[in-house]
Symmetry: C2
Subunit: 138 residues, 2 copies
Amino acid sequence: MLYSIIETLKKNQLSITDSRKKILEMFVKTKGALAHADIEHQSGTEFDRVTIYRTLQTFVEKGIIHTIPTADNSVRYALCKEECSEGHHHDDHVHFMCDDCGTTYCLDKISVPHLNLPNGFTASQTDVVVSGKCGKCN
Amino acid sequence: MLYSIIETLKKNQLSITDSRKKILEMFVKTKGALAHADIEHQSGTEFDRVTIYRTLQTFVEKGIIHTIPTADNSVRYALCKEECSEGHHHDDHVHFMCDDCGTTYCLDKISVPHLNLPNGFTASQTDVVVSGKCGKCN
DNA sequence: GTAACTGCAAAATATTTGCATCCTT
DNA sequence: AAGGATGCAAATATTTTGCAGTTAC
């Protein structure tokens, strides 16, 4: 499946700027999760810290990326699948964090199992966070 | 089941101090999750911000409490069940965060389903984070 | 008495906001 | 040309560290 960066930005009514193209490109290439610091390091001094904050925030609002709940409460982001739209994330997938190398994977192929919540509770989103050792570190 | 605060502290070779007793008491009474800010507000000026940070860190290290992965990446803690010991958490339970009132519940009774990870991946811990509306807000 | 714990001050880090300038459309 | 996006400076917020004084055992 091809992911068009320009397409995605246009579809979300965002103007095409260098920082947006490059940051979105990082996510597409990584296929994993990125933290603010990762982006900052990878991009060198190319753009401002603040621009990265604002770009990430915009992408989250537009449903292009989403935040990942992590056990260590570091803030990480990953690409949303196509079904996501503004304000309506559908990211009920499984995230895996490697204890050794720290890489975060989105395991799209594993579906989130159904849970029986207590009476009166309704779920809008379910995230599963698995930690352990990934294929490379095992 | 009775939870003895003094017992817990002794068992973990921690000296019995006011801040530790009071902070641990908050967790026992809440039966839910607490953030650093919650503790700070509930305790007024009784103890220092830094003491709270250090106490929480100590409790996590000893396996008395654990951090909860949250969708919004705020840092929250909850009591561990008895099986937890230093460095070995067994908190494969389900956490529920209410979108309306913000309360975090630990749904101990719901077990975490087994997942088939990709080849070479091994899991040491699985967290499930459900968000939606809780019984009170529905 | 000694080791561990706390409070205060300050450093380090992370995030947000305002505003002037520049770029996309 | 106009509105949105960026960079810079600075304000806030969050977390960590060092050290001296205090407390638990």
